[in-house]
Symmetry: C2
Subunit: 273 residues, 2 copies
């Protein structure tokens, strides 16, 4: 039974709870961030803390802790749990609201679990996506709003796909938990730059890709899937995974791309450096 | 300290909690409904249960109780709390998800609180709204997603307004917790019919209005605010409240409308009949 940080202290996971008056339960109001630890070392922690503080600021939630205090809590949590390769999630909710509508003092919850997906330096298996017209609200904030993503799970399963790719007005934004890239016929690496959550792995991939390829952050039309040499997604959990099909559109002849393979290896090494 | 129903039993409100693995906290996934009791009598209960079952079905959440069982729980809750004039909220969440993403066995939470707003047969005070471009996802389902509504509270306050009116592509949909109507220059009562949550008070008002006026459920363009004789909102909590201003647009010369006044009185009487 892992230990969880809730409010101001540590508690066993099965007793880690929030009162039903919390605005996450009442009104779906909250943010989070999620990072990995490998061999006990938090990966890209400062990037994740940057984004967590950005999300909190955007959503007018007072974290009530400094970055240093958060680092100390994360450290103690790791010591208590002893899970070297883990995922750590920091959640901040709207708090216990007397009227069920107004923001209150936020509740901070930090959980740690063993990694659910083991990635490697090797080529990850490829994915197939279905597309769906949807735009996440507050797209640049890592809110807890995954209503559409959870709701779409049966459609994804029934289509034999692995995940969903959101688009709106013909333009691709992102997957629910990952960013989306293509490689154009002239070897340019392209990813949307707006109406998305800017992932930490996306950031690393952009930096790495720029060392070898032309890189463009711009609007990406669904029609570009027809000519893309490669497509891939990036995420903290999955690293870099080739996408070989979106709906009926086969990408790269159905084979995993070389650039995705290279990027995955580089991200793997960077995380462990 | 009121009693709350959680899961399968009754518990004091300050101990009514959900584990942090619940999908409402993890992913903002849940539905609810809300109705009033007056003198201990639930108002329009069957309509609210209809909608609650509809919401649960749409969101693939198994309530785990029959309508009769829900009525019995509501009855026991009322007896335990002894609050004749109250608001009762039935919430159903995505449940304790082992992976924080897949639907689990839903958690049912039923709370009761004293009415926060006392309505009367008399003319309610009027409201001013600001408009905001937003479309609720899963609009016809009463989800717990009020992210935008909670986030907009400071803007509403700073504008000296009482609430926000959502629109998209020039068409009005609804307020976060109420439906929106106008009365046209030729005394037609108009309200949007799609991209909205269909409120129970909206339903009653449509029935009542049709006995005396021409009624239209159709797309409603923001430009129609310029010529509207009246505007009003309908909600379980507030009944019928005139809207005298949206952004800079004064409606009905800034005076509360006669039709809104009449409808409010009729809804008041219907609820107590």
């Amino acid at each position: 039974m892992p230990t969880v940080f809730v409010g101001d202290g540590f508690i066993a996971a099965d007793r880690a709870a929030l009162q039903v008056s919390d605005l996450a339960i009442q009104r779906g109001y909250g943010i989070f961030d999620f990072f990995k630890t490998l061999g006990g070392k938090p990966i890209f922690l400062e990037d994740h803390l940057d984004r967590f503080f950005h999300s909190a600021g955007q959503m007018r939630l007072d974290i009530g802790k400094s970055r240093d205090e958060l680092r100390v809590i994360i450290d103690e949590l790791q010591r208590a749990n002893g899970i070297p390769d883990s995922g750590i999630r920091i959640t901040l909710t709207g708090g216990y609201s007397p009227d069920g509508y107004s923001l209150a003092r936020p509740n901070l919850v930090i959980t740690q679990q063993p990694l659910q997906v083991i990635v490697s330096e090797e080529m990850p298996r490829s994915m197939r996506l279905i597309s769906w017209p949807h735009q996440r609200q507050m797209a640049d904030v890592k809110t807890i709003d995954y209503l559409m993503a959870i709701w779409l799970q049966p459609q994804i399963r029934d289509s034999g796909a692995d995940d969903v790719l959101y688009y709106r007005d013909g333009f691709i934004s992102e997957c629910p938990r990952s960013n989306f890239f293509i490689v154009t016929p002239n070897d340019t690496v392209v990813t949307p730059y707006r109406h998305i959550l800017k992932g930490i792995t996306r950031l690393k991939v952009l930096e790495i890709a720029a060392s070898r390829y032309r890189v463009e952050q711009r609007d990406l039309h669904v029609d570009e899937l027809k000519t893309a040499k490669e497509a891939f997604i990036t995420s903290t959990t999955k690293q870099v995974v080739p996408v070989v099909q979106v709906d009926q559109q086969i990408i790269g002849g159905g084979a995993s791309g070389e650039i995705a393979r290279w990027l995955n290896g580089e991200v793997y090494r960077l995380a462990r450096s």
